[in-house]
Point group: C2
Chain length 190, copies 2
DNA sequence: CTAGAATCGGACTGGCGACTCCGTTTCAAA
DNA sequence: TTTGAAACGGAGTCGCCAGTCCGATTCTAG
């Protein structure tokens, strides 16, 4: 489209960029998106100047983190979808997304609150994810494992909501499991 | 305990306090807790000075709003619990709480993030609510309408999570209804 | 009606945090 | 090695917002 010329980054620049992304992922997920940029820079072992040279805006950094996460999840989802039969794959992916989305709801909120209609790069990644999920859903419905009246919007909402449910729970694995039982039972027909 | 003397508020002061609470409830729920205090004061038709005289801190205002909401919900819950039989009351209250909690998750987060171990007044209200819900839950379990392995923590988490689910949904009443079907189905035994 | 106490309003302050600027350092092409 | 372009770091700027202060206003007791 438009990103044609792009000279390759200098070695140190590429290294710093990667360190920033890692640090930002870590800090944002554990301490929330409110953490000052300077702390992220410090965690990455670089100066704020460097941070803002790579990501012109705090929001841009947030977006980059989201994109990477989404891509990871989408890839694993695709793998699962290919390996297992529809119903099994569907429920496995549901777990995967919920488990991986700890704290991510807050990201989405932060981005949305920033007035952005989700920038191009993010748009792209979310679309890929949605496509995956839509396929999984209709596959599972075709085999009768999931009630047929659910659409993609409901599935998406349930994924986010189940993530929120898990965040509220004390770190008790058996309670988590019970929540999954409730939701999965509800997803099955009748 | 300690709030003994409390002279009654002057007429205008009481009026302004009420206007502030109403405005804050409205603004916080529709535009989020990040809205500057000045806007809340303007929405209430008073100056910031007045706002801070009634609520020494933005956080205190947030808390007051929460308390009022919780008390309202708790009262309605109690009423429902008294009028209907256990199972019916349980599910009706579940709906009530979820419907009324639009945007409230964000409040709780904001308070928790402020480092407060939830101040005394809020503590009290939440305890009342929890007691209500605990009663409702065990009642519904006794009649066999709800799976017996669920505890209060799971119920609380599911209430918050279902609220989050609803917030993600496009404003489509039938989709909302489908979500309730999923969750309620999952809550029932087997 | 009047005084003075309670309240009000909004200009002002202080601190915080996103982002900029530029002298210094590091890389890599020749 | 040399050299200039690329990248770095972090002190400094700027705007925003919670919370303060005090002269002006509005209640209400007598």
């Amino acid at each position: 489209m438009s990103d044609a010329p792009e000279r390759p980054l200098r070695a140190d620049a590429a290294r710093n960029r990667a360190k920033l992304l890692d640090a930002a992922t870590e800090v944002f997920t554990t301490r929330g998106v409110g953490v000052p940029t300077e702390e992220i820079a410090r965690a990455a072992g670089v100066g704020v100047g460097t941070l803002f040279r790579h990501f012109p805006t705090k929001e841009a950094l947030l977006e980059a983190v989201m994109v990477r996460r989404l891509e990871t999840i989408t890839a694993r989802t695709a793998q699962l979808a290919a390996e297992a039969e529809p119903a099994e794959a569907f429920f496995a992916c549901f777990r995967l997304v919920v488990d991986q989305s700890a704290g991510k709801n807050e990201f989405v909120r932060a981005l949305a609150a920033a007035g952005v209609d989700v920038h191009a790069s993010l748009q792209e990644s979310t679309t890929a994810m949605r496509t995956q999920l839509a396929g999984l859903l209709s596959g599972a419905q075709r085999t009768g494992a999931v009630r047929p009246d659910l659409g993609l919007p409901e599935l998406l909402a349930l994924l986010v909501g189940t993530g929120a449910t898990m965040e509220q729970l004390p770190a008790d694995p058996s309670a988590r499991e019970r929540i999954y039982e409730v939701v999965f039972d509800g997803l099955r027909p009748h």
